[in-house]
Amino acid sequence: ETIRWARVADALTLDPHSQNEGPTLTLLRHIYSTLVSRNADGTLEPSLATSWEIHPDDPSIWVLTLREGVTFQDGSAFTAEDVVFSYERVLHESSGFRAIHADVEGAEAIDDYTVHVKMSGPSPLYPNNLTNFFIVDKDWAEANDVVAPQNFAAGEENFAVRNTNGTGPYKLVSRDPEVRTVMEAFDGFWGDAPAATEVIYQPIPEAATRIAALLSGEVDFVQDVPVQDIARLEQTDGVKVVTGPENRNLFFSYDMTSEKLRSSNVDDNPFSHPEIREAMALTLDRDAIQKVVMRGQSQPSAAPLPPFVNGWTEEMNAYDAPDVARATELVKSVYPDGFSVQLDCPNDRYLNDEAICQAVVGMMGRIGIDVSLNAQSRSLHFPLIEKWETDFYLLGWGVPTFDSAYIFNFLVHTREDSYGAYNGGKYSNAEVDAKIEEIATMTDLEARDAVIGEIWDQVMEDRVFLNVHNQLLAYAVKDGLNIEVHPENQPTMWTVTFD
């Protein structure tokens, strides 16, 4: 059975350690296996590693037991050597995954099927970081001179960008970047033989074209379905839609520490006033956005993290019904004439990102905040956040580790070293920072969770984020094809079944 699969974008490369990016990971997963994988419900399950535990003598060592009898697609056997090599490769300068494995000091093959991973300190949650770590064949890599991941700075192409040798369920047949990638089932796969024996993957960036291709029967499975088309697709014979929550929250954030904003007409920083932040929270009508803009395809919440991420609580999630009158009063109390500010928003990154921003502009307008919207492509939007060139912005954040620490590291911690790269609002709280650093090495998970709770309390109190919702994913498939929504939007074709 062939499955023709369309989504909005293509993998950027086939080098397994070069790009930490959604579509790239999704495609690679079909060719390369990871040590540990994540279920559709978010729990970890064995893959190339059959088990993982902390070394009884040294809390900073993880012991991985590998699966036996696995072969690479070129026929060579999979051993601990390959895992150690893959570690070297993923830790290489040019790897795009170094930050994920930042605490790893090195890996050591104990025997053919046992590997010790030495951490810089206790890292109780480290296995969560293994779900996107693909294992390559050492001999193949050496033979083809790809011991280091693709490095574009060097200005030369790498064999691994277009050639693969994994232990995954599919072998690469042909690839035309951004046009189509064809894969066929690998008969030496260690797991169950997939029902879909051939996968044709086609990126189709235009939403209307993508849906048209499904409706005209040119593709079987469309991954990125615009919310407005779900209803029509559901009614169409021969097509069905499956939905599920995505591991991604959408929220607004703002610069609350600068003296003065870049784009405001008032002389101080409006966001530094707790009243203003409260007013903004009060006027945000999440339910309306959910009903109209998202057509039900979202879970409104106040907490900037999906429910299945460690650290999420029911009460964080709760939000008050909008109260425009009270919000207006709050704004008036600080700025009798209101104030103006620019909102930066991507228009090609999240489901209906621009429409959400637009709706929020209206809601803010109602309480005297005159927001001008600067909606642009993601390639222009994200640098603003990184370079601290925005006062007020929309961001979506996924948590591949399923742990709040990931959010804290990137979004809450003061920007320094490898911390705070996406802390575009310049939030800085020394106490919080200390706690964030503390949880990195805590082994007592309960105590750790308590600290996480404390951090969240502070962050929620300070209203660092104005969360909108948790995105729902929708996949549209042709009838007779069964597929589950994957929380990280990384569907797997080998688990697809046919009626």
Binding site: I211, Q228, A231, D285, V292, G362, S372, N374
Partner: protein
């Protein structure tokens, strides 16, 4: 000396009558297509210019919108708010009729200003090149060639990119429209320059120009007072057709994601947004703006076409 009294000595008719009686006016009166096109353009221009006075609501004021009105079909009450909209409401709860009026206003403004910009630039360069001739002319026309190698869209992307580097935050919204105008205008001046250059090279050899030179009239005066009025015919034709092109270019640019801010949609933005709802069944979000754009651009094109024929005496 016998005074010649051949010219009919009837009282000189008034200005208005002369305009009405002119060949152009006559050609116009007898061309139903031109009349209909003009009517359409007039109606559209009227509705957009006076949109703030006649539109049911101001869709550019975000505070006035109720998101819950989103996707209300034409003439049907909204499920939540019960409001009714003649042409329906879009995803942000904006009344389509008002939005189209305001959108046309933006589109027309962008188009007209872009054409004006291109015209001023093209005419100046064209007149200068045609008048000076020689290497100045060659150089300017080579630049025009290079410019032609880049289609409007690429130029617009260029201008946008550069502008983004210079325009301070907070002003982007207000300035976006001007950036757009410059972007479209810049990609359009070549036509004007070429036509004006060609025509002024013809005109400058005409004897009335020599007559002005004999009395030592200033070159600038000759260029702008003598030559310019005589090359305005083709310029007018190009300007009309350029207007249609500019309106469409604006639409295309917003399809590619560079355009006016979505909170102040133009017709193009409306269509770009609307085409996402073609499959889902909210046809009114696409159809009405598209029909408006078509009617406007088609009428302007038809007018330009007609004007071209009417101003070309040999075609009659």
């Amino acid at each position: 000396m016998t005074p010649e009294t051949q010219a009919p000595q009837t009282k000189a008719p008034g200005r208005l009558y002369r305009a009405w009686d002119s060949d152009l006016a006559y050609a116009f009166r007898t061309a139903p297509v031109a009349i209909v096109a003009t009517l359409v353009v007039l109606v559209v221009v009227f509705c957009s210019v006076f949109a703030p006075l006649i539109a049911p609501m101001n869709p550019y004021n975000p505070a006035a919108l109720n998101l819950m009105n989103g996707f209300t079909p034409p003439m049907e009450p909204n499920a939540f708010t019960g409001e009714v909209f003649l042409l329906g409401a879009d995803g942000q709860g904006r009344d389509m009729l008002s939005t189209i009026m305001y959108g046309t206003r933006t589109s027309l403004f962008v188009g007209a200003m872009a054409v004006l910009f291109a015209m001023v630039m093209g005419i100046s360069i064209g007149l200068f090149a045609g008048w000076r001739g020689g290497w100045v002319d060659s150089a300017l026309m080579r630049i025009a060639d290079v410019q032609l190698a880049f289609p409007a869209i690429l130029i617009a992307l260029l201008v946008f990119g550069i502008a983004r580097g210079f325009i301070p935050d907070g002003l982007r919204d207000q300035l976006a429209i001007w950036v757009l105008i410059v972007a479209i205008g810049l990609s359009d001046w070549v036509q004007f320059a070429r036509v004006v250059r060609g025509a002024s090279m013809v005109e400058k050899n005409k004897e009335y120009v020599q007559a002005a030179q004999v009395i030592g009239a200033h070159p600038l005066k000759i260029m702008f007072r003598h030559i310019l009025p005589n090359v305005m015919g083709p310029v007018l034709v190009i300007a009309t057709i350029s207007l249609a092109l500019a309106i469409i270019a604006e639409a295309t640019l917003s399809f590619l994601g560079v355009g006016v801010p979505p909170t102040q949609p133009s017709l193009g933005t409306l269509i770009r947004v609307g085409q996402g709802f073609l499959i889902s069944g909210e046809w009114w979000i696409l159809l009405f703006p598209a029909v408006t754009l078509l009617a406007l651009a088609l009428s302007v094109n038809l007018l330009g076409d007609w004007l071209r024929d009417a101003l070309n005496p040999r075609l009659r």
